[in-house]
């Protein structure tokens, strides 16, 4: 899997690259407009991370270029600009997703996984890990081929963990993902903790091979036993 990261901030580029390499992606970099244009014309990528404000030009123009080449559907915009106009314009130009800086690595990871899966499986959208199957379209879960009922939030949490398996998922990242804009109070973590407790209990009861481990008390990691 080849991913192009178009980002002018070298430090940010660095952390994104490190994180992606952990997922065994092939990472290419473009620190400015010119390089980006050259690379998208010359090569095909499975996913492109695109910053909007670039030296030498605007990321939206790259997106337009991609659209004319019919390659815009695997683009995730990463921008410091949280304005609705940008978001709407970006998505209208065919970008697949829009992520506002600062974001969590786990969030970026989950978004990339979604884009890739949509590309790879044009039919069924199923996440499979260990003996757990999660149907993203139907929002159903089966463990050892037996359907198991999860409530909405539990399902969201499980999905997020499965998309980030073997990766550290910070509590804040999880709260933000599941609660979106509503997550802004520290005492939401207690609530999160109770959700994870329920999730663990259900996974155990149905003898799942997935395990959610607490890491240092700052986050969790899902592993296949």
């Amino acid at each position: 899997m080849k991913i192009l990261v178009i980002e002018d901030e070298p430090e940010l580029l660095g952390v994104i690259r490190q994180s992606l390499q952990k997922e065994h992606f092939l990472v290419e970099e473009a620190p400015d407009f010119e390089t980006a244009i050259r690379k998208i014309i010359a090569y095909d990528y499975d996913c492109i991370l695109l910053d909007i404000m670039l030296p030498g030009g605007n990321g939206m123009d790259i997106l337009k270029e991609l659209k004319t080449m019919r390659k815009a559907d695997n683009v995730i915009i990463i921008s410091a600009n949280d304005s609705l106009d940008d978001k709407v314009q970006g998505l209208n130009l065919g970008a697949d997703d829009y992520l506002t800086k600062p974001f969590h690595i786990a969030e970026l990871n989950a978004r990339i996984r979604s884009v890739l899966r949509r590309k790879a499986f044009s039919g069924k959208n199923i996440l499979e890990l260990g003996n757990v199957k999660l149907d993203l379209d139907e929002r159903t879960v089966s463990i050892r081929d037996t359907p198991v009922a999860f409530n909405r939030k539990e399902l969201d949490v499980l999905t997020y963990f499965m998309l980030n398996h073997n990766r550290l998922v910070l509590k804040t990242a999880l709260a933000e993902h599941v609660w979106g804009a509503y997550a802004d109070e520290a005492n939401d973590y207690e609530f999160l903790y109770s959700q994870i407790k329920n999730l663990r209990r259900k996974l155990n009861e149905h003898e799942s091979s997935l395990e959610i481990r607490a890491v240092y008390g700052i986050g969790y990691k899902m592993q296949v036993i």
Binding site: P102, A186, S194
Partner: protein, 434 residues
């Protein structure tokens, strides 16, 4: 009091003084004039009588006024020499009127047929009381007419003259920093108004410039903060993920990440606030708040269950408002979050939606009313609440202000109550439009 009436008040008082003074002067002047005329008449009459008395001796024996207005008495030569012509005001009994009447009396002496006579001539004089009364009436009428004409002049002329001023006033009243179709000076040839024009224009321009540069600075600062924040958080995440940390170090990393997270939230909230204030949410639609409440009650169901808080949605009416949907949602979420977070286990939240707005009433951890003045301010925190930005209610107020909704807080029977109502009757900040 309007300027128009103000000038009228001063004019009416000063006019009264001026007219009064003028009346007194006029009165005495008039009296003087009348007296001189009467005296001249008496003198002429005297000469006429004296002349006639030389030929007609029968006249010389009228020693009573009777029906004539003169009297002639014979006097001694010595006495006659001492007589000088004297005019004086006196009272004479008039049989016709059966009362004393004021008269002007001329006393003089003359010689006829080598005898000396004293001559007294009277003439009716002006009735002072009558004069005063008539003068007063005339002046009162004049005063009334003057006031009326001033009123008319004020209303028609002054209004016209002050037109540029009122125009400027309207412009100032409607002036809002940041979203001005720039100040338009009034058309006027009056020097003072021209100066006012120029001063206002330069003042507003300066303010606008300052505001714009401040705004830009805020936005850029918030913006530029995003990238270093992203780098810091992500690097710490990678560090923690490497798994080479002791538990103690990892806990520290976790704390740093949380601190950065609150910085991130703060930054986002500030950006949101400045965007609301800059009216960067142009897209509007008809938003039905009942639907938002229904959806959010479902979204928050898990959290409510976890915190053992009962929620109740009473729809007495449908509240609809033309506004940006995202902002409507943020408004409701912030209030609802507030009601959940500051609640007590086993507490309640009652949402009442009517046609004109909605109330959110909740039991709370504070058993005393909060400070309504301060609570909508930025960074108001009533305790050291960790993780709270202190901007939630400031955002509520900004959104309410943008769409002319009133946002109020009240406290009663142990419950905190937030009320959002249509019609701009005061978030305290919005100026009423006349």
């Amino acid at each position: 009091m309007k300027l128009l009436n103000h000038t009228l008040l001063y004019l009416s008082v000063s006019l009264l003084g001026v007219l009064g003074l003028w009346a007194v002067v006029f009165y005495f002047f008039m009296l003087q004039e009348v007296k001189e005329t009467v005296d001249d008449g008496l003198t002429n009459y005297k000469m006429f009588i004296v002349h006639r008395a030389q030929g007609d001796t029968s006249m010389l024996s009228s020693n009573l006024f009777g029906d004539k207005n003169y009297r002639i008495n014979e006097i001694s030569a010595e006495k006659a020499i001492r007589v000088l012509d004297t005019y004086k005001d006196t009272l004479i009994y008039q049989e016709r009127l059966e009362q004393h009447a004021p008269v002007r009396l001329l006393t003089t002496a003359f010689v006829a047929n080598e005898k000396y006579y004293e001559l007294k001539i009277i003439s009716a004089v002006i009735n002072k009381a009558d004069l005063i009364r008539k003068l007063f009436l005339a002046l009162a009428a004049l005063y009334g007419v003057m006031l009326a004409s001033i009123l008319v002049v004020n209303n028609f002329v002054l209004k016209k003259i002050w037109k540029p001023f009122h125009y400027l006033l309207t412009q100032l009243r409607n002036f809002k920093l940041g979203n001005t179709p720039l100040f338009k000076p009034a058309h006027t040839s009056v020097k003072e108004f021209r100066e006012l024009n120029d001063s206002l224009q330069s003042l507003l321009q300066r303010n606008s410039d300052t505001y714009l540069s401040q705004k830009q600075f805020n936005e850029n600062a918030s913006h530029e903060l995003q990238t270093p924040l992203a780098i810091s958080i992500n690097k710490l995440e990678l560090l923690a993920e490497r798994g080479a940390l002791t538990d103690e170090d990892a806990a520290t990393v976790g704390e740093v990440i949380q601190a950065l997270e609150s910085l991130k939230r703060l930054n986002k909230a500030l950006l949101l606030l400045s965007k609301i204030e800059n009216q960067q949410f142009a897209e509007e639609q008809k938003v039905r708040f009942n639907d938002i409440f229904q959806r959010l009650a479902k979204d928050f169901a898990d959290l409510l269950r976890f915190r053992k808080v009962q929620i109740q949605l009473l729809e007495e009416g449908g509240f609809e408002k033309q506004m940006n949907y995202a902002l409507a949602e943020i408004l409701v979420v912030n209030l609802l979050k507030n009601a959940i977070v500051h609640n007590i286990p086993g507490g309640t939240i009652v949402i009442t939606v009517s046609n004109s707005g909605f109330n959110i009433e909740n039991t709370g951890d504070a058993s005393e009313p909060l400070d309504e003045e301060k609570m909508f301010n930025r960074f108001y925190k009533r305790s050291a609440e960790s993780g709270s930005t202190g901007l939630g209610l400031a955002i509520v107020k900004a959104i309410a202000g943008l769409y002319h909704l009133s946002a109020h807080y009240s406290f009663g029977t142990g419950k905190h109550r937030f009320s959002i109502q249509a019609g701009d009757n005061g978030t305290g900040q919005e100026r009423k439009h006349s």
